[in-house]
Amino acid sequence: MNIAVCVKQTADTESIPKLSSDQSHVSDEGIVWIINPHDESAIEIAIRLRDQCNGSVTLFSIGPERVESALRQGLSMGADEAVHLLTDAMPIDQKIIAELLARRLKSQNIDVIITGEVAIDGGGAQVPQRLAKLLHWSCVTAVEELHIEATSFTARQPVEQGDKIHEGQLPAVIGINRRIMEPRYPSFKGIMKAKRKEIVKESVELESPSYSIESLRLSAPRSEGKVVTYQQGVVDKTIKFLQEKTSVI
């Protein structure tokens, strides 16, 4: 089974984003980079699948030089190979991202593509669906339970009304949610092995985007709220406050 995992490098949740001086993008300054948490679980699922039925796990990531550290981390978790589609800046147009990935993945012999359902920074939530349409493959996204056999898959996707159960044939694109499984920490052996692996680098050109940022601003911190210590009478005051400030009590 040849498995591809598409990985995005994102800002760590605890990082505090700052805007560039011209306010056009979020600056890289002070950001701690991680693998998008949903993608990190996608790598875990892929490695387990490979260990069950042999084959290989290849990581694909688009972005500037810094992205290499995400790929290196994925290799030390146990992925076999990594391909870095090198760009000057991180593209934000999901259509362009999906097209780049589809073009590259077509030339590879792949049975299943596993990736996160959404990136926690941009919140795009569309690359799995787009990739599948471009390749004319099946797609399930927001998956929380996955079974893959030699040629078929069963996936559970929670929706508002319950669980959707999708059954289909490979090849397929599976977009998964972190809740499917916590990823492993790389072992010391894994880290040493990954250091010796070569990351394939291919420069790619970005077309002009159809999704662009017109303006950005940092969210205003919520106005300092009132904090009181519980004692007699506090609950009644709370209710009065809620009645004043909200329309729902």
Binding site: Q157, R222, V228, V235, I249
Partner: protein
Amino acid sequence: MFEITVVGESQGSELVSSTLEACHVASKLSNALGVNWRIIVDEDAANSAINYGSEVISYSIGEEHKQSPDVIASTVTEILEPTKVIVMAATSTGKDLMGRIAQLLSAPLAQDCIGFEIDSGDVLFKRELYGGKVLANVKLSGSPILASFRPRSFTPIDRLDTPAVAQLHSIDILLSEPTVILKPRSQKENLDVTEASIVVSGGRGLQGPENWTILEELTDALGPTATLACSRPVSDEGWRPHNEHVGQTGRSISPDLYIAVGISGATQHIAGISGSKFILAINKDPDAPIFRVADYGIVGDLFQIVPELTSAIRNAHTI
């Protein structure tokens, strides 16, 4: 020519409330741009849709296809007449579907928008980035463009005085797989966390699933627009179902009132609740980060405060 299309989502024969909000977006857009809008919906919900949109197109796809996002995406793109803007609610189903429709049309898509503005004829979509820490106005170029809207970002559209007439399209479906079935939720039906105007949310501070009765009673006292949510460890432990988990890896919600009980307020949790209009936090640790985002915080023992709050609300309502 129809220039704005709402892709409707239905449950049984009714449009879901988030679709009525998407219709509201469409009608505001249509007023601002001076163009028509319409709803595309499964035939089962056509009789509901005609009460809200003056143009309704319905499709018939057969029972076995009703849960298939591929079939619905192909059907919608097939019967879509020239359209400039396609909108839908950013529910799980909506986001899944919009990604597929966008690629079938080779068009840009902004998911989970929380607003829009018109800037010299262009629509700019408002989105949260970095878990709500950054707000962006996004421009989509070309035609059509697609946007899904986070539930509760807009109020539902009003009913029409006189219902419209629906046009029905029958579609030949060639697709045979994947097959998709829906297993409806079996537990007691609570309002979905994204739809409720009041959300009572419990964290690890509750100590165990057996203590949820105090939150259920509070939710009950707050009335039918209130529902339960929880932090991630609570759903990971199986104390509460996964669909109640809010945060970075769970649901994003924007209720009028969010009540965080025994929740520390980790960044990953805040990422899902930053759209809340008012946050009330109850925590015994005065340094808990939840107090930094709360509009009102009570430092103390939740097991004492929550029952007192419940009876005070019951009293307030009977006065």
